[in-house]
Symmetry: C2
Subunit: 425 residues, 2 copies
Amino acid sequence: MSDKEVKFDSYYHPTDSLPFEQGAKGVPLTLKPDSRYSLLSDLPLPAAVVSESALIHNAQWMQNFSDQSGVNLCPHGKTTMSPQLFNMQLEQGAWGISVASPAQAQVAVEAGAKRIIIPNQIVGLANINAVLDLIEHKGVDIYPCVDSQYLVEQWQEAASRRQLTVPLLIELGIAGGRCGCRSHQQVKALAEDIAKATHLRFAGVEFYEGVIHGDHGEDNAEHLVRTFVKGAVALAESLIDLSELDKPIVTGAGSAWYDVVAEEFANTQDLTTIIRPGCYLIHDDGIYQDAQNAVMARSQRDTSTACRIGGDLISALVLYAHVISVPETGKAIIGLGKRDAAFDAGLPRAVRLYRDGEQHPLPSLVSTNIMDQHLFVEFEQAGALKVGDVIAFSTSHPCLTFDKWRYIGVEEETGFVTKWLDTYF
Amino acid sequence: MSDKEVKFDSYYHPTDSLPFEQGAKGVPLTLKPDSRYSLLSDLPLPAAVVSESALIHNAQWMQNFSDQSGVNLCPHGKTTMSPQLFNMQLEQGAWGISVASPAQAQVAVEAGAKRIIIPNQIVGLANINAVLDLIEHKGVDIYPCVDSQYLVEQWQEAASRRQLTVPLLIELGIAGGRCGCRSHQQVKALAEDIAKATHLRFAGVEFYEGVIHGDHGEDNAEHLVRTFVKGAVALAESLIDLSELDKPIVTGAGSAWYDVVAEEFANTQDLTTIIRPGCYLIHDDGIYQDAQNAVMARSQRDTSTACRIGGDLISALVLYAHVISVPETGKAIIGLGKRDAAFDAGLPRAVRLYRDGEQHPLPSLVSTNIMDQHLFVEFEQAGALKVGDVIAFSTSHPCLTFDKWRYIGVEEETGFVTKWLDTYF
C-alpha cells in the first residue's frame, strides 16, 4: 500500500511576496502575515480550490489500485497540467506521466517525469522536433504513438537526421472511434516498418477504450471493452519479437474503464502493462462520479480490487462564488461563468452555502443557465439566497474547469487557502 | 474618421530571447534569426493566430461607427484580456475599457486605461477593496454597478473607511434577464440612496440589452430593444439632478445591438452616452457574424451609420491544426480540441487547407464532434484529407477561444507569425 509522505514543496506559499501575475483570478491582492486566506472574506471570488486531503487520498487510492492490480500507473496529466500535482503523482509511485502534446510533455519533464507516454499522434516537424529535443537534452524516455505509415516515415527521417532513436507505440483504434489503426493487420504492418527503421524502436500497443459506447447499456459496453482489450493484449503479445524492449508495452484506460482494463491486463506476463487514468486525481461530482459508481458496482459484483482496497475517490475541486444579484423572486445570479467552470457535462452544482461568514443549511438550488461570467440559479423557498451569500459549487469534467485557472488554491482546512497550485495550459 | 497610426509596441517580438514560459502552446521552441515563423513548418500546432490587418480594420471600423454615431466607445475587454489590444483600442480613441471583474480591471489599468466601466455587480470585501486599490493608487476613474441596497451599503462602508469616493452606476435589468433592477422605481430609490451616501456618487444608468430575446423573431426583438433603451435613456435623464457629474452616464450595448443602442442614444443631449461592444475586435465566423449581418441589414434598410461608413467587420482569429489521423474512409481527426477552441456556439469550421507547404483547394468538410484534444471532421470526397495536412479553422464565440491561449500569434502576412499577443485570463 502506498503510504509515502506526500511532498508539496513546490506550491506557491505567498508568505514573503506575491508571486502572482497582475490581474490573476482567485488569488490575494495583498499579503496577510499569517498566509491564511479565508475564502469568505480575504480572497476575491470566484476562486477555484482543491482539497489537499482529497487530492492525497485520490492519488494514493489510484496508486494502490494499480499496485494491487499489478499494473503500472502513468496518469494522464492533461487534466491538471500542474507540475506540483505531477510531482506528487510521481512521488506516490507513478511509472510516468501521460500527456497529449509536446508542450505538455515539456511541463511533465520540468516536473520530474523520467518516462512520458504521449497517447496521441504527433504531427508536424515542429512537434516532432520538440519531442526529440526532450529526448536529446533531458534524458527522458518518451513514447509517442503512430497509426499511419506517413508518421512512421516522418519520425524515422527526423530521428535519423539527429542521430536519435525513438521508441514508438502503435495506436489501436475502434471502428467509429478516434485515432488508431482499425485492424490488427494494420498494426502488424506498421510494427514491421518500425522494426526495420534504423532510428525507431517498436515499443508496443496503445489504445483508448473510452470511445467505446455500447448500444445496449452498461453491460454491453463492458463486454465490448473487455473484448477489445483482450484483443489488444493478444496483439501486443504477438508482436513481441518485433520489439527490442524486454517487455514491450500495452497501455490503455481512461478514468471510466481502468478497472476492466487492469483486469484484462492481469492475464499477460510478457508485457509491461500501463493504465493512464487522469481525472481520478481531481475527480468530480458529475460524469466521472457516474463512471466511478459504475467501477464500484462492477467491483462489488466481482469482489475485485477496487472494493478490496477500501474507500473511494472524492471530488476534490470546488468553486467559490458570490450571489451577486437576486433580481426576481426565486432567481439568483452568481458571479461564476463559462470563463471559470466546465459546462459541457452539466452545470456547476451548489454544495454548500455561507452567509455572513457562517455555513448555512443549503436550500434546494438548481443551476439553469450559464453565460461567460454568470451562472443562473433558481430556487423555490422565498429568501433562500441573498446578495453577498457565498456558494461552493462542485463541477462535472475537471479538465475543462482546471484549464480556466492559472492558480488554484489548496484548502488544507475547509474555507481557507494557504498555498496555490499553478497550471500550464 | 479614425486614422491614427496603430501602435503595437508591447507585442512580444521573440527576436533575442524566448519570453514564453515552459510548455506554452503554439509558440516557437527555438529561435529563428529572422523572427519569421511559418505556421506550416516552424510552429508546433495547434496555434491560435489573429490577422493584424483585420484587427486594425475592426478597431477602426467600430471607432468610426462610434464617432459617427456621436457615442463614446468603451469596448468590453473580457473578450481578449490582452493588454496590447486594450492599448490599441485606447490609441484608436476609445473612451475607456469595460471589464467584468476587479482582476480584469487591474489588467486594463496596466494597459493604460484611465476610465473603466465594470458593467457587473462587484460583491465581497476583497473584490470591493481591489477596486478601491485601483482608485486610490492608480488614479483611474472606475464605474462599478449596483442593483441592490445591500451593495450600496457595502460600497459606502468600504469607501468611507478608506476616505475614498466611488462613482456608481445603477444596473437596469430586464424581466427574465440577468442582473439589474427590474423597475425604474427601484433604480430611482437606489439613486437616491447613493446621492445621500457620503462616499458614493450616482454616476448614471447601465444596462445590457443582449439578454432580450424576442419571441416573434428579429423585428420583435429590435422593437423590444428600442423600447427598453428609450426607457433607460428617459430614466437616466430623470435622475440627472441626483448626480454631481456634469453629464451622467447612460451605457449599454453588446456586439449584437450596438447600432440600435447608439441610435436611441442619439436622442439625448444631456447624458454621456457609451456603448460597450467587445467581440467586434476579433469578430468570428459564427454567432457574431450572424449578429453583424443583422446590424448591416438594419443599416441598409435605414441608410444609417453602419452602412454609411463602408466596409464591415472581419473575422480576425484563426486556429491552425494538423490532420493527425485519417482512420476511416471519409473521417479525419484533427489535433485541435475543447482545450483550444470555443465549442458552445458551433464547432470550428475549416476555411483553408494546406498540403506539403502549399495552399490547396478546400474540399467540403464538416466538423462533427469535439473532445478535449481532438476535432472530428467528415468528408465525402475520397482522399480529400491526408495525415500531415494543415487546416485553418475559423471559430464562433471569440471569448471562449481566446481564454484557451496565453500567447496568440499575430499574422502580418498570412501563414507567418512574427510577434505574439499575451492574454491575462
